[in-house]
Every structure is written in structure tokens, then in C-alpha cells.
Symmetry: C2
Subunit: 107 residues, 2 copies
DNA sequence: CAGTTATATAGACAAATGGTTATATTGAGT
DNA sequence: ACTCAATATAACCATTTGTCTATATAACTG
């Protein structure tokens, strides 16, 4: 279930896919239910779902005719780690700037 | 300053750009310093930097000949909000599953 | 079994992306 | 003023991406 950072970020890069995930945050949905809100064709949605599945962001089950999708738990850990690292760097930049300003105002 | 989610996610989708950000988490760097670690040309890096800047992920200052880059603080708020929303949905899915399992085991 | 529904796959195509080389720009050093 | 160093821009090219239509597959429904 380890979602490779690269696949996750690429998957999130498309607004339709982000909207699909947002919809799934409200609970499981079938492919057709996911098609409805959008102006694009069913095959396009199916391809987006395949991308999301390969990125480890969603899971699918088989229910007769349907393939309901839901969010995959733990899909965001690797991304979280990366973003935390960035945030640390941002804070460190702040700290450096603070020191610089302090030094300047001291003279 | 508030980075549009779409630009941020697209920017993060490229591994070279993520590596650039990781380097910048260690502190400011000039364009040439950012070129060195990679096997790609300077113009390619310059383009990546432009993408990152437009996404609001980095800031640049003018220092004579150089354009040092650093991480932009607060660039990730919108993304954080989106990801928090997804995580809530994931937890809710868990909760739903728990209830389902509880119901099953009860009979 | 026949028809309909849900979804996936294939093939085509336009647009976006990421890379290259060549060149322009601008500041620094002599 | 001349040259070098740092960076940006332009023009071009190959690959990837997102979309479509048409069709295939498979499961329900009568």
C-alpha cells in the first residue's frame, strides 16, 4: 500500500482527479456516480480512476456489475513526510531571516 | 502568496522540482548551485524554477548577477487543507468499515 | 436467451510537458 | 571598453497526457 511519491503527486496534479478524491471523501461511489458531476465521458473517468488506483490513492471492490471506489487509507504518508521536510526548511529560512534582521538592527 | 492548488500540485508532480525544493529546504541556493546536482541543462532548471515560482513555492531575490532562490513560507496551506479533508474522509471510511464489521460480528 | 446496464479497453488526436541547443541579457572584473 | 559568469529566453522536438468515439466484456433483468 506504499504509495510512491511520484505517482501520488502526478495523480493529484489533475483537477478532475482531485475532485474525484474529494467526492470519495464523502464515501464510496460507483464509477457512474463519479461520472455524473463532470462534463467528461465515462471512459475518461475510468482512466482517471486507474491513475488514482495505481497511485495507491483509491481502492476498488467488486459488487456484481459495479466497481465501487473508496479512498485508500494511509495513501498520503510519503507525501506527508516530504511536505513536513519542506515545512521544516521553510521555518529554518524564517529563522535565518530573523537572525539576519537582528544582526542588522543591532548596528 | 496563497498558492493555487492546481499550480502547486502540478509543480510537485515533477521529481526534479521536488528535488529542487528539497535542496532549498537546506537553505537558499543560486541557479547554478541548483543545476550542479542534476544531469540536465541550466535552461531546464531555469524553467523548473519559473514553474515553482509561479506556483508560489519559491521566492527569488536579486543579488548582482545571481538570483538566489528560497522556499516561500505559507506556500502549502491550500494543499494542507485539501489533504486534511482527504484524511478526514479516509478516517470516516474506516469508521464506516468498523461499524459494518461490528454489525456483522454481532449476529 | 435477449436486452440493458456498468465498466473497461482501443485507437486517434490535440495540447501540454520536459528536454535540448543556440542566443540574448546583464552584472562583475580587468 | 572587453570579457567572463550567471541567468533567461527562443525555437524546436519527442513524449506524455487528457480527451473523445467506438467497441468489448461481463453481469443483471425480464
Amino acid at each position: 500500500m506504499h504509495a510512491p511519491l511520484d505517482a501520488v503527486c502526478s495523480a493529484l496534479a489533475d483537477p478532475t482527479r482531485r475532485a474525484i478524491l474529494a467526492r470519495l471523501a464523502a464515501g464510496e461511489a460507483t464509477v457512474n456516480e463519479l461520472v455524473e458531476p463532470f462534463e467528461i465521458s465515462q471512459p475518461a473517468i475510468s482512466r482517471h480512476l486507474r491513475v488514482l488506483e495505481h497511485a495507491g490513492l483509491i481502492l476498488r471492490r467488486v459488487d456484481g456489475n459495479r466497481r465501487p471506489c473508496r479512498l485508500a487509507p494511509d495513501a498520503l504518508h510519503e507525501l506527508d513526510d516530504y511536505l513536513s521536510m519542506l515545512k521544516k526548511g521553510m521555518e529554518a529560512n524564517y529563522a535565518r531571516l530573523d537572525r539576519l534582521l537582528a544582526k542588522r538592527s543591532r548596528r
